[in-house]
Symmetry: D2
Subunit: 377 residues, 4 copies
């Protein structure tokens, strides 16, 4: 059940890096949710490899084709299916990978799991390219949430061995200025200075035939209180279950997160006060979640992205057919740093998790006939 | 679907802090797995509030009663059901909580979600007490895994604002010495010195009417390569989905984890060599997982535990019925630090996730009739 | 995942015929649904073996103990757990069954599946006794539905080789008279005459050391239109998925059902008219379901119950240990006809399926905080 | 979760009658299962509207395009995705349906459920056309099963108001002759005479501007004993859950099925004997299933198909916008009898259910690395 997610929705993601197409099916979305396909394509563009010198030279238009589930500009209640055709594939680059696994990639465990029957071209189903259909689904979820007044924003919080850091997202209130800044800068950072320094760190890694990772911070503003569940379907569990599905993510935390382990209870607890007649926490160390359930404060979380395993240097590996040591230089096209492209993917993951939780809690979305008007007897 | 977990197994956890009983049902375990109930009770004892001055004075024997699913010392293929009767309840302590939510606890979001119909006594279904049935299930899973040669060990990696740290678990090879040390020391640490310092940090927090958190590290040794899935059911996703269900856990990472964000690719990649005829990574920054699938190296992960929200100091809160600010002193019995008691819970979470993944991948467990002998036609 | 059911709810059933207890856990019910435990016990009594000469002499009080999930007379949002302790077990009767499988029972396939590690006493997890926890869950679901104005009624439609038939349930309108008659008669029939004839058929079968089966008809009145889903989660699929879990059920159909195969389209289609300003089908061959979705008409369905496989006569079987033919006389206590006791089980199955569908469609149940009042930002 | 099926596999079906494409995604199939795409297309052809005068004049090549999951002629372990492009759509025919619901179709309940935002063209997601992707998935499952020696055969058992009946499938042993006859005859019948009579019944219905239904019998030969589960995931439950997702199916039964209700226990029980050293039931009233688990005998089941609701006659309906009575003549292209085309769909349903159960029980399929060879530690 690798590639299927959700309780109220069922998201299925399919495709390999070099298969005929990649795509997704999303079952369970209510009818009558407006979907703006141009806005969806704009969201996809944030993930696509840029013209920039900071990402892979592989070019894919990533044009989304809706096959089903949307008519007249809104969801029709049937499953949404959407695909992106893979136009620019170079399967010749990857033949050796079946024998000599790339360190840090899934080549070796995949060969064991799939008894060498997997598709190795471009990383197959493990490719970061599969985050494109995740962004289709997440982009649709973002639009649905936005119609409820929920806005999701992510940025690069920290990057590279030098630890270049950006400003933090406002943990208490949605800042349209921060969102605009992130979209405007050359890298998705609140601070232009940080964007510039991060860009230099990426170029330095490329020049060094190496790669770097980073930390992405994401916040969802406007979530109503009381959504989510204790135990296995808390908001943390739901977001983490998608976020760890993004290739290269090795850590996820919420609010103060790992830093909370070093606070005292009196420091970490968020006090309540009444403001404008409403219960409101005064700080947000909890990241908007207590007992798995939303508090009404922004959902704030982070994910750690490891450095891209594909690097230009020679690495030690093995020849699995020969049973001998071997060395390897990864060929093909790859990013010296995938963190910038993972920023919209974090937003997509967050949107899907929150939408699923809202629907499971019966939150009214889309067009609905009042229950009282349904009864015939 | 808050309290249900698993793909090949279905674990259901039920109970409130002060209900008649707490317990679990586990569907999907193969028949013929030996279960040692004494060993299970010993495992439960590691979670139970100790006689020690470092934990809550609430006393519960936590005696596990097996209701179904085990006969003649082994699983019988029917769902396992087990309960612990709640003998020592003091529901009178908690009445005020319905109106004045405790900072850091789920009181406020629970009131919104359940429209004030939830059970507030002792934290209800949100209580840390619910980790007891998780340990029943996890203890059974640990026994099943141990019969496959998979051993799971956890300890306190770091504790408190001073950041007292323990030695690390061996990331490459199972160390029976480390396991023994963890079980022998006054707190579950590899280093006796660390155990002593951590104990002092807890006593200092108690004296200060405050609480502290920490980081737990957990490793599973002996997992075969090729288990798990890409995307939403990777080993990371599966462990995180349970771990975030443990009250107070706010972060989870794997292998180098958040630290990987500050490494270069050439540092973080684990090279392969052939050893004794087998493919073997030379380091384990991946925490035994690539592309969601086991590499055959130890599964190594950490979880951050926030400081116990129940503290002895007066805190700012609100009176939700009156709609006014209020102050609060949390009464009742509670731990100044739950990290030591969460150590076996981490092992339980890890065991359940790995067992579910092994079963989903068709790993043979328990007694089985050879498929070739089944055909009648 | 044998013993787990539901999308919006997760029902887990556990227990063996002679285990310490049988019971269920139900996750996902909203908080604030009133539960009348006396009424639940009354519902259980309809399934329990009667004092009557038509059922097994095994006596079980079937007293339901609520372990969790209900406080102050209503659901509290946490999973409900309930058990019935098995007080009257005679495990000695069943030892031979491990070797010599009873025709018509699950003994043989269970031995293969569970590699002879299953619990054979009293049929283990396959026992009809497991319909008791199904009735606990279904009885709770019936109460929840009844608060929405949905009423579920079942009766014996036909019984035995002579084909004794009862009147049909009204397919268009709820008849309180029919319900009362069913509860009042010696067997659950609308017609007293049918009840008497059926009773005689059962006594004749018992005298003949044989057993008989029958057909149960069930209807749910008051379901709003527009509930359910196309394809795999239609109302038919949902009911059938539970009904085939009732031991001895071998067929399920809806509305005209198998008879519809012998009608023309012009006969079988239900015409629409406007009545009192509402769309209303004029007949109900569809059994209240089109495209898997409720039409607002009563949900009407039938299930075929095979004759009890336990009979007093010698039967041909095999000795699986010896690999030789053998003969068998089933000992132990059993019913010559389980159809009457299966009537409330059909109601339970129907109630659970409909409740799950209503909740999945966001139908408001229990106490809820208005979504608009939740937003803090 | 309407359009998602399976425990070990996850099948998602998407598309509307007149959307850009219809298709499916199948997650969870092991790698290394050989797939013959020509044979798959041949299987699809059995469902496609024939050149025959007995079916709809709508022409669709139903050419299956594999988007992902299959490389080099075998499954690669990643989800399979496949689509059929809709080439021959006439959406103009269906505009009025939004207001005036067709009796017997899902138009009315769909309008309520989807608040009139659904796609009405050609029946949208409710169209029988959606059985095409079910046949893609089922055709793949059939190929996988066939590699295990499991063969699935279906035919028309009875048709129309006159009750034309075919011979029965052999309930004890696979008959290649029966399978050949079914594929060779003008309609899928064992008896050529029955095929001819059924064809005449269909032509008569068409001439009468009416439609007819029928009963399909399906058998799976070669299933090993011990597969399946008690309660909610028995083989009956699994097959029924898919079968009721086929439009127009209103009843499902197994083995003697509804007829078992009229047998005595001594007649209905299948005695065991030892044959060639194996336990073998002497009859197969159980349809190969006891306690939800396979007995090793053929799985035999039937499904009742109602007459096509689209008929050429004027019918009574309502105008939902005007709130007034209305009459309706269904336009567009439709079959006077869909039973022949539903025969391969029954096989597909059966194959998917059995494959899922086999995989869930750990039955080895595809290429697999021996577990013992995986361990690195």
């Amino acid at each position: 059940m690798a590639s299927t997610y959700g309780n109220a929705i069922k998201l299925s993601i399919f495709g390999q890096s070099h298969s005929a197409a990649i795509g997704c099916a999303i079952d369970g979305l209510p009818a009558g949710i407006d979907i703006d396909l141009d806005a969806l394509q704009d969201f996809m563009a944030r993930r696509a490899p840029g013209s920039a010198d900071t990402s892979t030279p592989r070019k894919e238009a990533d044009a989304v084709e809706i096959l089903a589930g949307i008519t007249d500009g809104h969801t029709n209640g049937a499953p949404i299916a959407a695909v992106i055709c893979n136009t620019n594939t170079r399967s010749g680059d990857y033949a050796e990978l079946r024998r000599v696994p790339r360190p840090g990639h899934a080549d070796f465990p995949a060969r064991v799991k799939y008894a060498n029957c997997h598709d190795v071209a471009g990383g197959g189903h493990f490719s970061g390219r599969l985050t494109a259909p995740l962004c289709i689904a997440g982009g649709i979820a973002k639009q649905a949430l936005s119609q409820l007044g929920v806005h999701i924003v992510a940025h690069i919080a920290a990057l590279g061995p030098q630890g270049v850091v950006d400003e933090r997202l406002d943990p208490l209130t949605f800042s349209p200025q921060q969102r605009t800044a992130i979209l405007d800068h050359s890298l998705p950072c609140i601070s232009e200075h940080a964007a510039r320094e991060m860009r230099e760190a990426i170029l330095a890694a490329r020049a060094d035939a190496d790669s770097i990772g980073g930390v992405i911070e994401c916040a969802a503003y406007g979530m109503p209180a009381g959504i989510g569940d204790p135990m296995f379907d808390g908001i943390e569990n739901r977001i983490a279950r998608i976020a760890f599905g993004i290739p290269a993510v090795k850590g996820v935390d919420f609010g103060a997160g790992f830093a909370a382990a070093y606070l005292t209870g009196s420091e970490n607890n968020d006090s309540y006060r009444i403001e404008h007649g409403e219960v409101r926490p005064q700080t947000n160390h909890a990241g908007g979640i207590l007992g798995g359930i939303t508090t009404g404060m922004p959902i704030v979380w982070q994910m750690a992205v490891k450095p891209t395993p594909s690097i230009g240097r020679e690495q030690q590996s093995v020849d699995m057919d020969a049973g001998s040591d071997a060395s390897l230089v990864v060929r093909g096209r790859h990013d010296p740093c995938i963190v910038p492209r993972a920023v919209p993917v974090a937003e997509a993951a967050c949107a899907l998790a929150l939408l699923d939780a809202l629907l499971e809690d019966g939150y009214p979305l889309g067009a609905r006939v009042d229950m009282a008007q349904r009864a015939l007897m």
